[in-house]
Amino acid sequence: MKHPITQKLRFLLIYALIWLFIMGIHMGTLTFMYEINVWFAMADGLIFNTLYAFLGVALWYPVFYNNPEKQSFSNLIINHLSIMSLSLAFWISLGIFICKLIFNETDAYLEFVEDGISWRIFTGVFFYFIIVMLYYLYIYGQNLKEHMFQESRLREKINEAELQTLKSQINPHFLFNSLNSLSSLTLTNPEKAHEMIIKLSGFLRYSLAHDPNKLIPLRKEIENVESYIAVEKIRFGEKLIFEKEINQACYEQKVPFLILQPLIENAIKHGVYESTEPITLKISCKPQTDNSIQITISNNFDPEALPRKGTGTGIKNIIERLRIIYQLNDLFTYQKTENSFEVQIIIPSKPAFNESIDI
């Protein structure tokens, strides 16, 4: 955080003006109420207030490094009391020292200076209190602003992720190729066509019906994956082998909506679409000791097929969604070998925020 006064010339001028004003009051009070010689009053006001003005600028640093959120209240008070005593002692002694340099020992004014230490301490404490309070207020305001900025950015990211989810929900290539298979089956195998329409409808309904921000039981996600696989199996037949190994305890665990679909699609795209040999796609889920669940999706692929570079947005999108929802990194990991690809996702038992805040 930048220094609130010295960061801009304008702020520095305002600060100087305030001290000039205080200086004026100081001089006026000494001249008219204490009936001190005008020259003495002016010197006194000038010396002590200018010194305090510098001190005030420096006080930012103890305030900045004494964060009330990071230490106990008693610690904070002790720190400030010691800083205040030190700086007041420094201020008063330096002021008196300068006065002594300027004026003769015989001047009545010096006597006044030495007698008036108690009220100087009083005004010093008062200024200290005001300045420190203003600095803390400034920090608080800045933090609030920062927080609001972060929140709006988070929201933006959520919206972006939402949009990406919606966009990635139905892959047009999948849709049109499936429709082509359907058009063929209606003529050659109407019963199978019927079955495919049911599966495809289930898949489309699931994608369209749910709010992408909602968490949903894993059971539903798995059902959706199964509909999708059933459709792809009609297209690719024996080339696609699907295995599932889900621990019963995982089924009711809530997971982000459509978190599995892009991974399954990826596995099919890089595995089945690019291979001439059968590809095994396996999904498994195990509960972990901390009530989270671990989902693993693996597929083999044809090592001879040159990898078609994906855009990577699917994976990035999943990582980003998991990070936003659970506020944890490293929930997503993957391993690639010569001829297999495996993805692991950890789904914590609860999201970082309540569902009510739209995540």
Partner: protein, 246 residues
């Protein structure tokens, strides 16, 4: 008329077969599930007409056609409509967008019967294509033939390309391959941050350039990673300068 179907999805092969039943003179000589077996089948069976899917494992329909010396009549079948322009670039008879109706299929078959006529429109289209020159799709691999074998070169392995009359020579660490394509084609279909046309006769992978030496009055010589030397023209030198920002 001998007909071959190259398509990786069984139901998609079925529909073509079903529609073909109305054409008694069309004899189905084979079905292939991927491009490599398709290539073999075309060579062995010499079909007159091929129904060809674009997106297939390992080698696409387009890459497959590039490797054929003699091209039979082709009808592309695909669900990806962005390939339409490229299909005509390949002198296809027609392009069936999946799913297609029986009427649309019959139309395509009529075009087969009156082949010449279509070629004319094909040529017209080619001119349009050349002016448009679709730059959007970048290559990620190149299919080449060498001594009867087929190699798929990943673009990452490509070091530089040299013009050889109507052909280009592709250089990789594993060897060099001749390909019937233009320099312009590769200039447009390779990532311009990775490959630069440094000379009328050369396109080079930027990170292969180890050193540039002045050569003659206003040209340079680029020394590549494995010691090869290629000419760099003044404009090529400027392009390199832009990409490498030196």
């Amino acid at each position: 008329m001998k007909v071959l179907i190259i398509e990786d999805e069984a139901p998609a092969r079925e529909i073509v077969k079903t529609f073909l039943k109305d054409y008694p003179n069309a004899e189905l000589v084979g079905e292939c599930e991927d491009g490599f077996s398709g290539l073999k089948a075309i060579k062995e069976m010499q079909p007159d007409l091929v129904f060809l899917d674009v997106q297939m494992p390992k080698i696409t329909g387009f890459e497959m056609l590039e490797l054929l010396d003699e091209q039979p009549q082709i009808i592309f079948t695909t669900a990806y409509d962005q390939y339409a322009i490229k299909a005509f670039e390949m002198n296809a008879i027609d392009y069936l967008l999946k799913p297609f109706s029986k009427e649309r299929f019959n139309q395509a078959m009529q075009k087969v019967q009156a082949n010449e006529e279509v070629f004319e429109t094909g040529e017209k289209l080619q001119k349009v294509i050349q002016t448009l020159d679709d730059k959007s799709e970048k290559l990620f691999r190149i299919a080449v033939k060498k001594g009867g074998d087929i190699h798929m070169i990943p673009v990452e392995e490509l070091l530089y390309i040299e013009a050889k009359d109507d052909y280009v020579m592709l250089y990789t660490p594993k060897g060099r391959y001749l390909k019937e394509k233009t320099m312009k084609y590769y200039e447009n279909h390779l990532d311009e941050q990775e490959f630069v046309r440094v000379h009328r006769s050369y396109i080079v992978r930027v990170d292969q350039v180890k050193r540039l030496e002045p050569y003659g009055k206003s040209s340079y010589l680029a020394i590549l990673g494995q010691g090869q030397k290629i000419n760099v023209s003044l404009s090529g030198y400027r392009k390199l300068k832009d990409v490498l920002s030196f």
